[in-house]
């Protein structure tokens, strides 16, 4: 059988490749892309990958995501690569790298933390204690939040 692309190449935009299989929708969720922004988004799930066995891919047409903007997806997709596409060519490629401080996006695992009080304006903020295994520490209550805690939040 002739190998074909499931989704055609994009002319201009961002391709997030090598997402661990089954996590593409979580990646979109972390990026805050809901589908009503107007630009074309292709989600490819569970395709073959030489590196990962199976992987997901997200293609965002017409928008170049900044690397700080996408670095946060390393939380759930540490193997992901970001490709910036112009005129059908990859002009820039990098592996995602988690920043040292993470603000917003993740909720603290401690329900009694100030950042989990809806009435208060305290935005969650974490220090990255370890990247592998992923371990975050809340800068307010100092409790640890693990990768499992984060995945639970995004599974809802």
């Amino acid at each position: 059988m002739k190998r074909e692309l499931i989704v055609r190449k994009i002319e201009h935009g961002t391709v997030i490749d090598h997402i661990p299989a089954g996590n593409a929708l979580n990646v979109l969720r972390i990026l805050g892309i809901r589908g009503n922004e107007g630009f074309r988004v292709a989600v490819v799930m569970n395709v073959e990958s030489r590196k990962l066995g199976r992987k997901d891919i997200v293609k965002i047409e017409g928008r170049e995501l900044a690397s700080e903007e996408v670095s946060i997806i390393a939380l759930i997709a540490p193997t992901a690569t970001i490709n910036i596409i112009r005129n059908y060519e990859v002009v820039y490629k990098e592996r995602v790298k988690l920043p040292d401080i993470i603000e917003g996006i993740v909720r603290c695992s401690n329900p009694n933390c100030i950042t989990n009080q809806p009435k208060e304006g305290a935005r969650p903020k974490f220090r990255v204690v370890s990247r592998d295994p992923l371990l975050l520490q809340c800068t307010y209550c100092e409790r640890y939040t693990t990768k499992e805690d984060i995945l639970k939040q995004f599974r809802r």
């Binding site: 401690n110 009694n112 933390c113 100030i114 950042t115 009080q117 009435k119 208060e120 304006g121 305290a122 520490q137 809340c138 800068t139 307010y140 209550c141 100092e142 409790r143 640890y144």
Partner: protein, 309 residues
């Protein structure tokens, strides 16, 4: 650790203070003991807000007394039912208001991280007087002062911390404070369910502090120079039967003390329920009431260093 002093500084966790900072505080507190029944004018014209969202007797009254002895004015927010908080005002808004009225804010709150958040919102210094199960730095300052004052030194002692080491903010803060000294040994005495959180263990590791976790006070009590006792709360046990089973083993009685060192100091942040029986109060080992008395001079010293000219 570099010494950065106290002036205009937030006091959120004991971890932020070096041993030099603490020694400076202790020397100042000792001077303040002379003024425990009279007034100074170090805080004249200054207003200190006491924002107590959670009940307190010792901490609140000792701060209030300290402010008055220093010649300052205490602005007290403690009966939250009678304030806008009962109407649903947020902590952030309450802090913004107190920030504009006062020179410093002392906060106690049941939510972890509340003091750190308040310190972000406020421009004036914020002192954490206890935030949930998280930290209680001024209690640790009082506790360390008690040992320093009574023994002259903290280095080289064998110290045991008993009780709820997982959720007890006083115990946690005491451990984070005393680990700055070169102890002979640090015993952590608790039921297995209430051992230190890994967050705290990792700080001890980072500082190279060796600890020994034990479940029975009898195994180590005769070695101790200082025994710091905290309460084990029933609600921390999912199984009430388990609580009933362990509580007796963490109770200090005259029998526990039969063969202890002559100069053992038994300490407790108070309030106690039944973890130290009243029969121990009359012994030479009981330091907890003295410890509570030191609350005023230590808090006077702290306020002087943070707010004084």
């Amino acid at each position: 650790m570099s010494r950065i002093g106290f002036k205009n500084r937030d006091v959120l966790t004991i971890l932020d203070f070096s041993r030099e900072d603490l020694e400076l505080l202790f020397r100042e507190a000792k001077k303040m003991e002379m003024y425990s029944k009279s007034a100074l004018d170090i805080l004249r014209g200054k207003v200190v807000a006491l924002a107590f969202f959670e009940p307190s007797t010792r901490t609140m009254f000792s701060f209030q007394t300290a402010i008055q002895r220093l010649g300052g004015t205490a602005l007290i927010l403690s009966d939250v039912q009678r304030t806008s908080i009962a109407k649903g005002e947020s902590l952030g808004d309450t802090i913004r208001m107190l920030d504009s009225y006062s020179n410093a804010i002392i906060i106690r709150h049941k939510i972890e991280g509340a003091a750190t958040y308040a310190a972000e919102v406020a421009e004036v210094p914020v002192i954490n007087a206890g935030d949930g199960t998280h930290r209680h730095p001024t209690q640790a300052m009082v506790d360390l002062y008690t040992i320093w004052r009574e023994r002259g030194n903290i280095h080289g002692l064998t110290v045991g911390v008993l009780g709820d080491l997982k959720y007890g903010r006083a115990a946690t803060s005491f451990i984070l404070g005393i680990m700055k000294y070169r102890l002979r040994r640090l015993y952590l005495i608790s039921p297995p369910e209430l051992r230190l959180k890994s967050e705290i263990k990792e700080i001890l590791d980072k500082y190279g502090v060796q600890t020994t976790e034990v479940s029975n006070i009898e195994d180590v009590v005769n070695e101790l120079d200082v025994l710091y006792v905290t309460r084990i709360q029933r609600e921390r046990f999912p199984d009430p039967a388990e609580y009933e089973r362990v509580r007796g083993s963490y109770r200090i009685t005259l029998k526990t003390l039969e063969n202890v060192k002559e100069d053992l100091m038994i300490m407790h942040p108070l309030p106690r329920v039944d973890e130290i029986l009243p029969e121990v109060d009359g012994t030479k080992y009981a330091y907890y009431f003295k410890q509570a008395r030191y609350g005023v001079p230590v808090r006077m010293a702290l306020l002087k260093l943070v707010l004084g000219d």
